[in-house]
């Protein structure tokens, strides 16, 4: 069983927006006792990190035309500053599939 989940944030260039989302969510994940490793990238480079990621948080805009496998857990993001709300969704997936990651 995994005692930590890998969360990948995806935006246009993989710099500003995904970094900020990662920062906002990280705080809330800690507060919820979820142990996670978090990284960010661009949609163009996402392919090289999909194997690593357990959960992919992707800007809703960039979901168009991307196909995910059924076993991939994807969270579409609207307001990236809503760290608590996004962490809540991550928590839901963690409890169902990676319960060991929550302490």
């Amino acid at each position: 069983m995994k005692d930590s989940v890998n969360v990948l944030f995806v935006c246009g260039y993989g710099m500003g927006t995904s970094t900020m989302a990662e920062l906002m969510v990280n705080k809330s994940l800690k507060a919820k006792g979820i142990s996670a490793e978090v990284k960010h990238t661009s949609l163009g480079e996402m392919g090289s990190m999909r194997d690593w990621a357990d959960i992919i948080c992707i800007l809703k805009k960039f979901l168009e035309g991307v196909e995910f496998k059924p076993e991939e857990h994807v969270i579409p993001l609207v307001n990236i500053m809503d760290g608590a709300g996004i962490a809540e969704k991550i928590g839901g997936i963690v409890d169902e599939y990676y319960p060991e990651a929550r302490k």
Binding site: M15, G16, M20, G44, K60, V78, N79, M81
Partner: protein, 433 residues
């Protein structure tokens, strides 16, 4: 001893990568990070900076032979408008002075924080947190100040820092009202390269249409989704615009550029190479700025907790994905129309769009226009945006004081506000010298 100090000052501290690496290392130490973090963080950032310099040089060397050949054949000088072309141009122009952009950034951030701290008097509320755009502002404005005011580097660093800090504080605050409407109280503003454009179009978009005609009710062709993928978008946009730019060379001319090999191969590889240059640049900036956002957000929360965080513009795109796509399309059409006009009037300077102004000005301003005036506003505003950005960039290139550069930003604020500031600096510089 004098000799040692001399070596340190002259050789060591003029090497940009070492100087900025030192700054970042000190930053980590001040944050009381563990020694392993200080070492790994500093070296990663230094590799990142070197990668940005390398990527910038690659970008220029991909484009320059084409520009030179077209210039020889037609007399028209082509430039690329993209934030990363501005990065490449300004870092080449600055040379050893490039390192000082780190100090410009820090001064600008301090000025921004002070203006927000005294927000009761200044009305400023936005704090600029976007490291990837902020470093580009710092180096571009530093170069404009050095080249136009012709002052020594220390004075130039201080002036640039103050100018950029004032721009950050006021532009992000101006845009905040519009962004609040668009995101229905999302709790952020935009700190990027088009905040003034967001404010401007946010104020006029309602004149052009009815917001009930929401772009989200449209069904757009799925193929447009390829432009969400930055690696693909850069390549395709470069094929279209740089490809068209090479038409005057004819097949023979392109063959000559390709060193005698196949001309179709050459055009295909131009797009692929631009995209690779971009991936190098993005990776470099990511390594250089990865921890910066966290550090600066921490400082903001400590000193001005009630400020509005000003973040990367892509945060607006999910609030109206269809409008973002339409904004991109019509900004591209507006840009193409402008290129046509430039050709018709026989302009000696031609601008070719990269992906950034089309996707990251066109997209977000499409979102704003849709929320204020529906589909018709998206079409009118983004056509206008493409034209303002194109003609504004011709103006900016006239003022960039480095004709050998690959190009300039092409984003709204760097095609309107900053060329205006540069004109003033050029005028003051003329009086001083």
């Amino acid at each position: 001893m004098g000799n040692v100090a001399n070596i340190i000052l002259k050789d060591f501290l003029t090497q940009p990568v070492i100087l900025i690496g030192l700054l970042i290392g000190i930053g980590y130490i001040l944050q009381k990070e563990k020694s392993t973090k200080v070492i790994t963080g500093t070296i990663s950032a230094m590799v990142g900076i070197q990668m940005v310099l390398f990527g910038g040089a690659q970008f220029t060397s991909t484009f320059k032979p084409i520009a030179a050949a077209v210039s020889a054949a037609t007399g028209i000088q082509g430039y690329i408008m993209d934030s990363y072309a501005m990065k490449a141009t300004s870092q080449e122009a600055l040379g050893d002075n490039f390192a000082f952009m780190g100090y410009v950034f820090l001064i600008a951030f301090a000025v921004n924080i002070i203006l927000v701290y005294f927000g009761k008097y200044t009305k400023c509320r936005g704090v600029f947190l976007t490291g990837n755009a902020g470093t580009a502002h710092a180096q571009a404005v530093l170069w404009l100040v050095i080249a136009n005011l012709m002052v020594k580097s220390t004075t130039a660093v201080i002036i640039s820092g103050i100018l950029v800090g004032i721009y950050w504080a006021f532009s992000t605050t101006l845009a905040s009202g519009v962004i609040d409407d668009v995101t229905e109280g999302g709790g952020f503003t935009v700190g990027h390269n088009q905040q003034l454009g967001i404010w401007f179009f946010g104020k006029i978009a309602h004149l052009f249409g009815d917001k009930k005609q929401d772009a989200e009710n449209l069904k757009l062709p799925g193929i447009l989704a390829i432009f969400n993928n930055s690696t693909t978008a850069v390549c395709v946009i470069m094929w279209i615009f740089t490809g068209a730019f090479m038409i005057p060379l004819g097949i023979g001319g392109i063959k000559e550029l390709a060193g005698g090999s196949n001309w179709i191969n050459y055009i295909i590889m131009v797009g692929i190479n631009f995209s690779m240059d971009m991936v190098i640049l993005l990776t470099g900036v990511r390594m250089m700025c990865s921890e910066m956002t966290a550090a600066f957000k921490g400082i903001q929360e400590k000193i001005v907790p009630n400020a509005i965080p000003a973040i990367d513009v892509a945060a607006l795109l999910p609030f109206s994905p269809n409008a973002a796509t339409l904004g991109f399309v019509f900004c591209t059409i507006g840009t193409a129309i402008s290129i046509g006009i430039l050709l018709l009037i026989g302009s000696p300077v031609l601008v070719l769009p990269g992906s950034t102004p089309l996707l990251f000005s066109g997209g977000p301003i499409g979102v704003v226009a849709n929320k204020k005036g529906g589909i018709r506003a998206v079409i009118v505003c983004c056509l206008l945006l493409g034209m303002i950005q194109s003609f504004g960039t011709v103006w900016a290139i006239d003022l960039m004081q480095y004709p050998a550069g690959a190009g300039w930003s092409g984003m709204f604020d760097f095609s309107t506000f900053w060329p205006a500031v540069t004109e003033v600096m050029k005028w003051i510089g003329g009086i001083l010298h």
